[in-house]
Amino acid sequence: MVRLIVNRLLLSIVLVVISSIAIFLLMSLVPGDPARTILGANATPDSIARLRDQLGLNQPVLVQYGTWLGGVMHGDFGKSVFSGDPVLNLILTRVPVTLSLVLLSTLVIATIGTGLGLLSAVRGGPLGKALDAISLVGLALPSYWVAIVLVALFAVAIRIFPATGYIPLTEDPGGWILSLILPVAALSLGGVTIVAKQMRDSAMDVLERDYIRVLRATGVRERSIVLKHVLRNASLPSLTVVGITVVGALMGAVFVENVFVLPGLGTLVTQATISHDLPVVLGVGVFFTLFVIIVNLVIDLLYGVLNPKVRVQ
C-alpha cells in the first residue's frame, strides 16, 4: 500500500518534469521572440526587454527550466505576466470551483452510470437498446454544446437554474448546488453513458458466472444477488472506466466552465492562453497532472478494496 503511494508520487514528479520540459523546449523552438508574442505587435522595445528579463528569456533554456523547477519545488510557480499576481494564489482561489464541479460530476457518473448499467443488464430488452441510443448521442454531442442547450432550456426558457456564475459552498450551500446543477449535468452526460455501457457488459458477464447460479440454487434472493454479488464483481472493470471518465471530466471542465462563466481553473487557463500568460498555463498544468495522478491512485486503492485478490495483506 505504502509502496504503491510512494511509486505514484515518484511517477507524478517524473510526469511534471517531462511535461514541463516539453513546454520549455517548445518555447525555445518557437521562431521569434516569446516576449513579443506575449506583448503583441505594438509593444515598445523597452517593455519587451523588461519582460524578457522577467521571464528569464535571456538565459539558456536549461537555466530557465532549472529556475522554474526549483521554484515549483518550493511552491513558487512564478508570477502572472498579465496581472503580476503569484500564480499559486491565482490557482488556489480557483481550485474549489473546479474541484466542486469535477467531484460532483464524478459522483453523478459513478452512481447513475452504475445504476443504469446494472438495471439494463438485469432488465435487458428496450432499456438496453435505449441506453445504447442515448450513449451514442451522449458521445456525439460535445459537452460545451450540451451545456449551452441546457442553459437555453433551463436558464433562459424556463428560469429554474442560474445561467452563469458560481456561489461558494461556504456562503450558501443551496445556492452552491443550484449554481452547479447545469454544469455538472453537462459534464456528466458523456461519462454516465460510458460507465453505464461498461457496467452493463460486465454485469451481464457476471450474471452468467457459476457462482451466481450456485447462489440462486441456495435460494438467495435475486435482489441480494444483483445488489451484492453482481454489483460488487461487475464494478471492478467499471472502476477503470470511471477513472478515465473522471480525468475526461477534468478536461471537459475547461470548456464547461467557460460556458457557465465559473471562476475555476478552466476559465483561468483559457484566459491565460488567450493572453499568452505562460507561467499561469504551466502552473495549471502542474495541478492538472497532480489531479490525474491522484485520481489514478484512488482508483488503484479502491480496486484493492473491492478485489480481495490484489488486497495487500
Partner: protein, 632 residues
C-alpha cells in the same frame, strides 16, 4: 481483403448511411467554394437573425451572413484540423505500436513506459500551452492533440501486431529470410489494416469534438473567418435573441461525430466478422422433434411414495418458438432418502436435466413440456418467488467446478451465512453459529470462514459448496459431477463426505456422473442418458450384471475400472450427436452394432421390463443373445 471489409460495411444499413453522411459532409466542405450559395463573409444587416427561409435554408446570423455557406466553409477548417491530428497520431502510433508488438522484449517495455506517461499527461492543458506558445496556431495545436493521443493507439496497434506475430505465415516469412522491416511493412501492417480503420474513424470523431471545442473557446482563426466551434460560440452569445443559431452549428458537429462513431462501429463489426465467419461451420437445419407425453403407453407409471417425479420433461434452448430441444421425454422418480445416479457421456443432457429440476436453465433455456413434481408441488410453471423458496430449502445443488462456484469477492463464511439466512429468519450471531456448524459438518476448520475463495484448495471449495447446499436442509440434493474437477486423492474424501452426510441427514441425492465407479459406490439405482433421452433405468446390481441397452453396455465396457489388464480399453466409436443432428429414430443407432432399419425409422419408446427396469431399445433380445455368445 480491404475491399471485402468495405463491402461488409456497406451491407449494414447503419454503416452505409453513416458512410454516406461522412462522405457528403467532407465533400460538401471540400467543394464549399463551388456549392456554397453565398459568400460566407458577406454581411447584410437588413436580413440579420432570420430563421430558415427559402433564400437562406439554415437562416442568417447576427450580421446577416448565410449560415449554410459559413458551415460549408467552416467545415474546411474543422475537418483539416481532424486530418492533421489523425496523421500525426498515426505517424507516431503505427511504427511504435508495431515495433512494440512485433519485436517485443526490452523495446516493448520501453515503449509501454512512454505510453503510460503519455496517458497521464493532461492533454487539454498541454494543447492550451501549445496554443499560448505558438500564437494561436490551430495547426500546431491539432498536431499536439495527435501526439498526446498516440499513447492509447500505440497500445491498440501493439496488441494487433502481437496477435499477428503468432501467425504461421509470419514465421514462414522469417524462415524464408525476409528482413524484419520488410515483414513488418509487408505482412504485419496489412493485417492490422482493419483495426487501423476502426481506430482512425473513432479518433476522428473524438478529435472533431476537441477541434470545435478549441474554436468555441475563440482559439484558431479569428473572426470573421467561419469555424464550426466559433459559430456555436456566436449562438451561445445570442442565446436570448436568436437561439436558432445553436441548431445548425451544434447539429453539424453532432451529426458528423455521430456518423463517424457509427461508421467506426460498423467497421469494427465487419472486421470481427471477417475472422468469425470463416470459422463457423455450416449449420444443418434442425429436424422437427416429436412432441412429448402424447403416447401414454410410454410414460412411466408413477411411484406412489416418490419424493421427486419427473414425467415427459423436455427442455429447449434458443428464441421462444424456435428452440432447439436438448432433452426430451425424460421420466424418472426419486424416493425419499434414495441415491440415484444419472449417467452418460458429455452432451447427453445430464446437467441440463439437473438444472431444469432447480429451474435454473438461464436466459436461453426453458422447459417446453412435461412435469416435475416435488412432494405434492408441481415445479414446472411455479412462480419465481415460490421456486426461490424451494431452492436451497427443498432442493439444492452442488456443481462441477468448485473453484468457480464461490463468489471471489466475499469470504466463504459470508457466503454460507447468506445461504443460511435465505431460509431461516435468524440473527447474524445465530447465522454465524450455524455457519460454524455447517463447516464442521463438512469436516472443515471453522476458521476457514474468514478466508476468500482464492485462498482455499479445490477440495475445500467443494466442501464449502456442500455446506452452502446443506444450509437450507434440503430433502433432495443434486450433485452434478461433484468430483470431476478435483484431484484423484481428494475425490474419495468428497465421496465419503457425501455418503456420510446422506446417511446423517436422510436426504435424497441425484448424483450426476460419467464415472461408473462413483455411481456404483454411492447409488442404489442408475438412470442412463444418451443424446437428450433416458435410455435405461435399473438398479445398480441389475445394470452391472446385465445392461439392457447397447449404449449402457458400451459405456460399461469402456469403464477403466472393469478393464482387462494388458488389453486396450474398449471405446465407443463416434461421438454423441449435437441436438441439431438428432436422428428421427434411435439416437444411438449410428454408433450401435445392433442397429437395424427399424431402429432408424421412428422414435423409439421406452420398453418396460420386469420390476422397475426399462430400456429405450427394441433389440433387447438380440443384445442378450449377443452377450450370451460372448461369455460362452
Amino acid at each position: 481483403m480491404s475491399a471485402g471489409l468495405f463491402r461488409r460495411v456497406l451491407h449494414k444499413p447503419l454503416g452505409l448511411i453513416s458512410g454516406i453522411v461522412v462522405i457528403l459532409i467532407v465533400g460538401a466542405s471540400a467543394f464549399a467554394a463551388v456549392i456554397a450559395p453565398y459568400d460566407p463573409l458577406q454581411q447584410n444587416l437588413a436580413i440579420a437573425k432570420q430563421g430558415p427561409t427559402l433564400m437562406h435554408i439554415l437562416g442568417t446570423d447576427s450580421l446577416g451572413r448565410d449560415v449554410l455557406s459559413r458551415l460549408l466553409f467552416g467545415g474546411q477548417e474543422s475537418l483539416s484540423g481532424v486530418v492533421e491530428a489523425v496523421v500525426s497520431m498515426l505517424i507516431i502510433a503505427i511504427p511504435l505500436g508495431i515495433l512494440a508488438g512485433y519485436v517485443g522484449g526490452m523495446l516493448d517495455r520501453i515503449i509501454l513506459r512512454i505510453v503510460d506517461i503519455l496517458l497521464s499527461i493532461p492533454g487539454t492543458i498541454i494543447t492550451l500551452a501549445v496554443l499560448a506558445i505558438f500564437n494561436n496556431s490551430m495547426f500546431v495545436a491539432m498536431v499536439s492533440v495527435g501526439v498526446l493521443a498516440s499513447g492509447a493507439f500505440i497500445r491498440v496497434f501493439r496488441s494487433a501486431a502481437l496477435s499477428v506475430r503468432q501467425e504461421l505465415y509470419i514465421g514462414a516469412a522469417r524462415v524464408a529470410g525476409l528482413g524484419q522491416v520488410r515483414i513488418m511493412a509487408n505482412h504485419v501492417l496489412p493485417q492490422i489494416r482493419g483495426v487501423l480503420l476502426v481506430q482512425v474513424t473513432l479518433f476522428s470523431a473524438a478529435t472533431l469534438g476537441i477541434q470545435t471545442g478549441l474554436a468555441f473557446l475563440t482559439f484558431g482563426p479569428p473572426p470573421p473567418a467561419p469555424t464550426w466551434g466559433g459559430m456555436v460560440a456566436e449562438g451561445a452569445s445570442l442565446i436570448q435573441s436568436d437561439p436558432w443559431l445553436l441548431v445548425p452549428s451544434g447539429g453539424v458537429i453532432a451529426i458528423t461525430t455521430l456518423a463517424l462513431c457509427l461508421l467506426g462501429d460498423a467497421l469494427r463489426d465487419a472486421n470481427q466478422e471477417r475472422f468469425t465467419l470463416a470459422q463457423l461451420a455450416p449449420q444443418s437445419k434442425q429436424e422437427p422433434v416429436a412432441r412429448v407425453g402424447e403416447d401414454d403407453e410410454a410414460v412411466l407409471a408413477p411411484l406412489p411414495d416418490a419424493l421427486l417425479s419427473v414425467r415427459g420433461l423436455t427442455v429447449g434452448f434458443g428464441a421462444p418458438g424456435r428452440e432447439t430441444t436438448v432433452i426430451q421425454r425424460v421420466d424418472f422418480d426419486v424416493r425419499p432418502g434414495e441415491v440415484v445416479g444419472l449417467v452418460g457421456e458429455s452432451g447427453s443432457g445430464k446437467t441440463v436435466t439437473a438444472l431444469a429440476l432447480l429451474g435454473l436453465l438461464g436466459r436461453n433455456g426453458r422447459i417446453t413440456g412435461g412435469s416435475i413434481r416435488l412432494g405434492s408441488d408441481e415445479l414446472v410453471g411455479m412462480s419465481n418467488a415460490r421456486m426461490r423458496e424451494a431452492r436451497g430449502a427443498r432442493i439444492a445443488m452442488i456443481s462441477q467446478e468448485p473453484m468457480v462456484s464461490l463468489d471471489p469477492s466475499f469470504r466463504v463464511g459470508a457466503q454460507i451465512a447468506e445461504a443460511v439466512r435465505a431460509h431461516d429468519r435468524i440473527s447474524r450471531a445465530e447465522a454465524a453459529q450455524r455457519t460454524k456448524d455447517l463447516l464442521e459438518a463438512v469436516r472443515l476448520d471453522p476458521a476457514v470462514a474468514r478466508r476468500y475463495p482464492h485462498e482455499i484448495s479445490g477440495g475445500m471449495a467443494q466442501r464449502v459448496a456442500i455446506a452452502m447446499a446443506l444450509a437450507g436442509r434440503p430433502e433432495l440434493l443434486i450433485a452434478d459431477e461433484p468430483t470431476t474437477a478435483l484431484d484423484v486423492t481428494v475425490q474419495a474424501d468428497i465421496l465419503d463426505l457425501l455418503r456420510n452426510l446422506q446417511a446423517e441427514t436422510g436426504m435424497a441425492v441425484v448424483l450426476v456422473s460419467h464415472d461408473w465407479g462413483v455411481v456404483a459406490d454411492l447409488c442404489s439405482r442408475a438412470i442412463v442418458m444418451y443424446a437428450g433421452e433416458i435410455v435405461e433405468r435399473a438398479s445398480i446390481e441389475e445394470i452391472f450384471e446385465a445392461p439392457k441397452h447397447p449404449y449402457t453396455e458400451a459405456l460399461l465396457r469402456s469403464n477403466p475400472h472393469g478393464a482387462t489388464p494388458g488389453k486396450p480399453l474398449p471405446t465407443i466409436g463416434g461421438a454423441v450427436p449435437a441436438p441439431q443432428q438428432w436422428p428421427v429414430g434411435c439416437h444411438f443407432a449410428a454408433r450401435c452394432p445392433l442397429a437395424t432399419d427399424d431402429c432408424r425409422r421412428a422414435p423409439i419408446d421406452m420398453v418396460h421390463l420386469d420390476g422397475h427396469r426399462s430400456s429405450r431399445c427394441i433389440r433387447i433380445a438380440e443384445l442378450t443373445a449377443e452377450r450370451a455368445k460372448v461369455s460362452a
